[in-house]
């Protein structure tokens, strides 16, 4: 059997199993699949044994090929979804700083939440958005949503739908246009930030659903950034946190915290250190820390087990790669 056919068969099998699990869950054929602690430990031991085998093969002069790395990463990411193990999250100084900034806001504060990302970054940023909305509604903040990415406001609606479906928030009887509003997307990148810094309405004549700006009670008296008490930016690239810091924070003095994808976070640390950003949440870890700090444990916390496993596997493969380098590759050179 050719390699191509084997690859197709493997892909078809994975697809079939995934579909069966999905259909089974939809029709309640079985409950939530969860490995017990004992079974989880067995899986960890098997993974360790597998890595040990790869290490031995490497020492023997048969370094692992790329597919082996992919296989272990795939297992490390997917299997922990079904594990019942829990981890203790520690909260970083950057998340604590962000929480301190939020806690300083009195009830009724007008908070601008900007969604500058698309579904590709949703696994990292959506849990932050959901936790932020929960925190904001619990503390009676008035939430104004907008986006510089076309998909941003729709991501906001997804997060809102999850939060507002909760019985606790249903009971609060939150009103669109009074307690929260989604102004939608506006093209123009940093020029939009600059423009709303002096005149909000000039960029958002209508909201996401077409209601004129001056007919929305929450925003009709908001002229510019001086009427906004705090801003929280969720960003996955350009335009994003950097542009908000350069224009809204530096020029107009807006107080701002941010949640970024892990890839982007490293570049934002100088702004946190200088005080231009009041705290930052970095990637899935930041989402989990924020959930820990706010007390709303959700997807961020749940997915951290996968991230722990994946990081461990990558580190072991880095070690294996160096063993291969020192024992074989360097000698050959």
């Amino acid at each position: 059997m050719s390699r191509r056919i084997i690859e197709i068969l493997v892909m078809a099998s994975i697809l079939a199993v995934t579909l069966m699990i999905y259909i089974g869950r939809r029709n309640d054929w079985f409950g939530i699949i969860e490995l017990s602690t004992g079974a989880s430990i067995v899986v960890i031991l098997l993974l360790t044994a597998g890595l040990g085998w790869v290490m031995v093969r490497t020492i023997q002069g048969h370094p692992a090929e790329r597919r082996m790395v992919f296989l272990f990463i795939g297992i490390a990411i997917t299997v922990p979804f079904f594990m019942s193990l829990t981890q203790k999250m520690s909260v970083s100084p950057e998340t604590t700083e962000l929480m301190n900034g939020l806690e300083a806001l009195p009830p009724g504060s007008r908070v601008l939440v900007t969604f500058d990302y698309d579904p590709a970054s949703a696994p990292e940023l959506q849990p932050m958005a959901e936790s932020f909305f929960r925190y904001a509604f619990d503390h009676r903040f008035k939430v104004i949503i907008m986006g510089l990415w076309p998909q941003g406001p729709t991501q906001a609606n997804q997060a809102l739908a999850v939060v507002l479906a909760d019985e606790k928030y249903k009971a609060m009887n939150l009103q669109y246009g009074i307690d929260y509003v989604n102004l939608g997307f506006q093209s123009g990148n940093e020029f939009v930030i600059q423009r709303i810094g002096s005149d909000f309405q000039s960029m958002f004549r209508v909201d996401f659903s077409g209601t004129p700006y001056d007919q929305i009670p929450l925003v009709k008296n908001i002229k510019n950034f001086s009427n906004i008490d705090y801003s929280f930016n969720l960003s996955a690239g350009y335009p994003g946190t950097r542009e908000w810091v350069l224009i809204a924070v530096d020029r107009y003095g807006l107080k701002m915290g941010a949640g970024n994808t892990a890839v982007q976070t490293t570049g934002m640390y100088p702004y946190v250190r200088s005080g231009q950003l009041i705290g930052i949440l970095g990637g899935m870890n930041g989402a989990a820390e924020f959930e820990e700090a706010t007390g709303y444990l959700g997807k961020g916390t749940r997915f951290m087990l996968s991230q722990s496993f994946a990081h461990m596997i990558i580190i072991v493969f880095i070690l294996i790669g160096n063993v291969a380098y020192f024992m074989h590759e360097r000698k050959r050179k």
Partner: protein, 215 residues
């Protein structure tokens, strides 16, 4: 005139934006707002231009059966499908339960997230092949990656739980991010800023003309 007029517009807009930053009063604030509005209009048109360009390229690929033309059929099909769902309910198309938003929630979102998730595999593979202790610099990079990757997940603190708090991996990772990383990032930001200032001045003054398609 095809070169002079764009150069004139660029020069005037550039100078206005520089001046209005320091003097945000009439007439510079008015001019700046005017240019900003035009930028938004041009950006919005660029979205359409991008979409139409994508369709043009994909249709040409299908028509001439170029390499991987089958994927282009999916691109055009999905584009037209989303367009159709978007237009049939017009302003309300993004209301929950309607086909456009259903496709966004249950097709576009998981597919995009899946594409981004593939990054994990590439990071794993690239780390395995690239993080080799070949020399001092590479070893430092390797150690930084080691501490940050372990320190950014809870398992890092579990492994070093027996150490005093300031030596636990999360603290070591935080130190690396806050000091060496911030210092390096600052240097990069300053370098980029100086480069942008220099490039902007060249464009405003008309010295740099490559954006017009010239040399």
């Amino acid at each position: 005139m095809r070169r002079e007029i764009p150069l004139l517009i660029t020069g005037i807009a550039g100078v206005v934006f520089v001046i209005q930053y320091f003097i945000p009063h009439f007439p510079f604030n008015r001019l700046s707002n005017w240019f900003s509005d035009w930028f938004s209009i041009v950006s919005a048109c660029a979205i359409w231009l991008g979409a139409l360009n994508l369709i043009k390229i994909s249709v040409e690929k299908i028509a001439y059966k170029r390499h991987d033309w089958g994927y282009s059929i999916i691109v055009v099909g999905c584009f037209l499908l989303m367009l159709f769902f978007g237009f049939i309910h017009w302003q309300d198309s993004r209301e929950p339960g309607l086909p456009f938003i259903w496709m966004y929630d249950y097709v576009y979102t998981p597919l995009s997230a899946t594409m981004f998730a593939i990054l994990a595999f590439f990071v794993g593979s690239a780390s395995y092949r690239a993080f080799r202790a070949r020399n001092l610099e590479a070893t430092l990079l390797l150690l930084a990656a080691f501490f940050v990757m372990l320190g950014r997940v809870p398992v890092g603190d579990v492994l070093t739980g027996f150490l005093p708090e300031q030596f636990q991996l999360s603290q070591v990772a935080a130190w690396i991010m806050n000091f060496p990383n911030s210092a390096g990032q600052r240097a990069i930001i300053i370098g980029i800023a100086l480069g942008i200032v220099s490039a902007s001045l060249r464009i405003i003054l008309g010295i740099e003309r490559s954006h017009l398609g010239g040399e």
